[in-house]
């Protein structure tokens, strides 16, 4: 199993590239936060960048991209139900406007 993992998992160079992207996205998030002109679209921009970072870590650092569908399904199931509960509760408590 470990030998198989070593062959199919991404290389060190890819890991570093992902980390650079993650760092850049974080910097970008904080920059966006301080730019007044972007205030009206701040929430969608930040959520998209957050989701991008989430996906990068899950796919490459946690190897979901190379590890096959079973583990992805288990994780996606948890993320989906959790997200649905968060969004549902926020909607019930009137967090998305009238």
């Amino acid at each position: 199993m470990s030998r198989h993992s070593a062959e199919s998992h991404p290389s060190t160079r890819l890991y570093v590239a992902i980390a650079v992207i993650l760092a850049a996205l974080t910097a970008l998030e904080v920059m966006v936060f301080y730019i007044e002109a972007l205030a009206p679209v701040l929430i969608p921009i930040l959520l998209v960048m957050m989701a991008a970072k989430f996906a990068l870590v899950a796919m490459f650092f946690m190897h979901l991209k190379s590890d096959g569908p079973v583990l992805t399904a288990i994780f996606a199931w948890g993320v989906f139900i959790a997200t649905a509960i968060v969004v549902g509760l926020m909607a019930i408590f009137g967090k998305f406007g009238a």
Binding site: Y15, T26, M50, F61, V86, L89, K95
Partner: protein
């Protein structure tokens, strides 16, 4: 020991992923509570009085980089490069400790500014949410430290790469949770 499994995935690795799926609900509920109560705080201080974005950006960066150290540790142990394994495992744990130090500083600063746990709705939701995450980081640091000690003692090598991989999955998940918390708590203040 164990024979081949029905899915081809080792039992412990499948268990860790299942646990992570369950943890999504734990943090999901905590996040839902924080989001529902956002803007409902009636007693000062308020989030924007206290949250220090530049400071937390630095500790966020440290935690993100610890994930890089973690994958490098796994790659090292898989090719049985134990010197590199020790280096990267140690750095991962160290970066986790720096993050925890930052959180300790942040918490004590808030308390000093008049926000103990029982102060108001913001203190309740903020401390329990970020504190739960911090407890997960602390557990991860202890776990990684035992792996480091075992590597130093020569009891961990490429045959145990799966153990390092599973600890890594946990560590990355804790990092992923922080990616969400950083955006929702600090940037959408």
């Amino acid at each position: 020991m164990e024979g081949p499994t029905s899915t081809g995935i080792p039992n412990r690795k499948l268990a860790m992923w299942t646990f992570i799926g369950s943890e999504c609900m734990l943090f999901g509920t905590l996040i839902a509570t924080y989001m529902i109560y956002r803007g409902r705080n009636l007693v000062p201080p308020y989030p924007h009085d206290l949250l220090n974005i530049p400071f937390i950006t630095v500790t966020t960066f440290v935690l993100l980089m610890s994930s890089l150290m973690m994958v490098l540790a796994l790659a090292a142990v898989q090719r049985n490069d134990l010197r590199a394994t020790k280096l990267w495992l140690g750095l991962t744990a160290l970066f986790g400790l720096i993050f925890l130090g930052g959180q300790y500083y942040e918490f004590s600063h808030f308390v000093h500014e008049g926000l103990p746990l029982s102060r108001n709705l913001f203190s309740s939701t903020f401390f329990v949410l970020t504190g739960t995450h911090g407890a997960h980081v602390a557990g991860g640091v202890i776990w990684l430290s035992t792996l480091l000690v075992r590597t130093v003692n020569g009891k961990l090598d490429a045959r145990h790469a799966e153990t390092v991989e599973i600890a890594g999955l946990y560590w990355h998940f804790v990092d992923v949770v922080w990616i969400i918390l950083f955006t929702l708590i600090y940037l959408l203040v």
